[in-house]
């Protein structure tokens, strides 16, 4: 298994390199650093000296991939690609356009993102499984039929409406929780109620429908029939036998997203003004701060690949039939 993991790790390198190349070509080839400088300095009355100074300040005054005027190794290392794209591999994210260190920002903003994402994931898993098992219990009846219909209807509503409605109901009408904001520590609990609840409801339709089909696939199998034949009650059959087998696809679907939880959710954090990585990204996109967007793209891919490897590991752990070779 170690060999397998090692191979997967090596395989991640060309993929990350590809991600790097894509972002590099988007941000440096389609748009030259000159374009960026003009954008940030404003279009009117910009002299060539100002542009050069801006480029020098931000470290963009290098050739793209090959420095002909340098000797030795610096020909390759003193380039935009090496300084701005390859350095990401060392988790050196550089500086944002306003001069702040992106790495420090990311470390500070990870906490709030996780404070929303982890409860969301755990409570969500519990609620979705319970609801879809209930529907499976009532399969073929009107309860099941209407449940699926409601799930499809809930899937058809944009996440933004859930957030707006949640803020309006809980925050403004019922005064149960603050409309938006964030506070570190235990006292900040009340700020998390609405975002977590909204996230839970927003994901309910899609997840319940998916889990239900997974459960229905399992329920016709022989081991369920033999469990019933042994005289087990339907609750025991569903919770003990069916769930454990159907959990494999669910778990692997969940494990993939665990690392990406760090990234937070763009619109949730932005609507609730939570100082996490999601709102960090959205602010960067709106301010057209390409350095941050580049860093977040790389971080996101890195975490996603980590998630895929964790998924493989979790397969081995939950399903003894799977062996990684």
């Amino acid at each position: 298994m170690t060999r397998y993991l090692l191979r997967r790790l090596l395989y991640a390198i060309p993929i990350l390199l590809g991600v790097n190349l894509i972002t590099f070509s988007l941000f440096f080839v389609v748009n030259t650093p000159d374009d960026m400088a003009y954008k940030h300095l404003g279009d009117k009355r910009v002299t060539v000296e100002m542009v050069d100074k801006w480029k020098k300040d931000h470290g963009y005054d290098r050739p793209l991939i090959y420095a002909a005027d340098r000797g030795g190794f610096a020909r390759f290392s003193d380039t935009l690609f090496a300084q701005h794209s390859l350095k990401l591999f060392l988790l050196d994210f550089g500086r944002a356009d306003d001069g702040r260190s992106i790495g420090t920002d990311i470390r500070q903003r990870m906490g709030p993102s996780l404070a929303i994402a982890i409860p969301n994931l755990l409570v969500g898993l519990l609620v979705y499984i319970t609801v879809s098992l209930t529907l499976t219990f009532f399969r073929g009846t009107y309860i099941d039929f209407n449940g699926v219909l409601i799930a499809v209807a809930m899937m058809s509503i944009s996440a933004m409406f859930y957030i707006i409605a949640g803020q309006f109901l809980l925050g403004k009408l019922l005064h149960l929780a603050p409309i938006s904001g964030y506070q570190h520590g235990i006292a900040g609990f009340r700020f998390l109620i609405t975002p977590v609840l909204v996230g839970l409801i927003a994901g309910l339709g899609g997840s319940v429908r998916w889990y239900r089909t997974l459960f229905l696939e399992e329920i016709e199998k022989d081991y369920i029939r033999s469990a019933r034949a042994r005289g087990l009650g339907e609750a025991a059959v569903l919770w003990r036998h069916l769930l454990r087998n159907a959990l494999i696809p669910i778990l692997t679907g969940v494990v993939v997203v665990i690392p990406t939880l760090f990234m937070g959710s763009l619109i949730t954090e932005s609507f609730f003004s939570i100082p996490g990585l999601g709102s960090y990204t959205i602010d960067a996109i709106r301010a057209q701060d390409f350095a941050i967007v580049r860093a977040m793209v790389f971080l996101g891919s890195l975490l996603y690949i980590a998630g895929l490897m964790l998924t493989d590991l979790s397969y081995v752990m939950v399903d003894p039939r799977v062996r990684l070779e």
């Binding site: 993929i15 991600v19 954008k39 499809v152 996440a159 996109i285 977040m296």
Partner: protein, 473 residues
Amino acid sequence: MLGQPALLISDYLIWSICLIGGISLAIGLRNPLQRQRWRMILSTPSAMASAIILLTYLAIALLDSVHFRPLLPQDEATTNGSIEANSEQPNSTVTYAASEISLLDLLLSNIRKAEERSYSAPLAIYAFSKESLVTAAGTTRAYPRLLYGGADLENPALHRSDIVNRTLTGLGLSLILVIPIFLLFRRRSRRSPTLSAGNQTPAWRTAFMTIAGLLIIGSVATQLADHYHLLGTEKVGQDVLYLGLKSIRTGVLIGALTLLIMLPLALVLGTAAGYFGGWIDDAVQYLYTTLSSIPGVLLIAAAVLSVNLYLDQNLSEVTSLHQRADLRLLLLTGILGLTGWIGLCRLLRAESLKLRELDYVTAARAFGVVDARILIRHLLPNLGHIVLITIVIDFSGLVLAEAVLSYVGVGVDPSMISWGNMINSARLELAREPLVWWSLATAFIFMFTLVLCANLFADAVRDAFDPRLRGKQ
């Protein structure tokens, strides 16, 4: 002649998508098995209702996709900024307006031109906020009458009864159409044998009820919108119903164009990877693993940002506002297509991997049929159901994505009317006192209807075309 035709690029594209879709449907229907499957889809009541509503949306989008520059009256032409077009007869110059409008705009010109000063509630005759009014007795603070909403209603006390009257008129008028349709459907459902084909008869009852419902809503809405702002006005006084209707084109276009772009990519790369294997497979797999490892929104945001900056720098001379927004929309769909083909490509690769081992492919190869012909004649027809299912499932996701992307700031042009932009500008209105709810509610209803119908229809299509799931429910 209404004016000078001025079709946008997206107009041509959406019409050609309809043409392509119609032709492939017609070809598909020549196959008896496929005919039976479509019959099965239409025998599901929810799918039948969804199909009719989707067609209505499509019709509105298509009406909104015929742009032209309207003819200006002679006296107006000299004052407005206009384009001189006809120089053959110097005595009677024909002038056209500078900005293009669509057929839908022409139909809705009543509520398009009826702008108020600011917010007004649905069906109101007074404005939403107080203004200083100068009367004979002096200046008072009061709610002014609206410029359009109930403007010809002289006695405000009759407001309520006027609305009731118009609603009843609308209902009555709609009956003129509903009753013949009812008779038509009754004959139809009587004629078709109900027992022979099991439950394969199209759901005529649902079809009738949906059409009747749409006709009644449409007729009442026309009657009311003729004299009132049926769904109120928004911040700068534009009619919300108009905005909702105009957004349909944007939503449908984003869904359809993106699919048009991702389809050939996924088809070519997916089948090639699955059928040929070897280094082609490796290359395609590397490509989509790399692309899919970037979080979707971030990749789209990065691409849109950099392309927009490029546009700003290099294409500042694009003529009209409309064309500029159109170009941005095309680019957005291009980027969505370039990032969205991966799921379909994976499915197609897996399926062609399976198909190429089948006996009939081996037989074709033994007969010496060339690869290209095997791909087109033997593989492609067997991939059709996967493509169809993916298309209908992805469509609703794309409509939803537009709203989120517009919120993030990488969606359609801010000047373009879309549900995303409507939500975006209205999302703070719930914090107002008293509440302004109608913009959000309108965007919600229009979007929810489209996405829900697309989802329900997709479910029916999947049940009918995916042999794996058939017979389970």
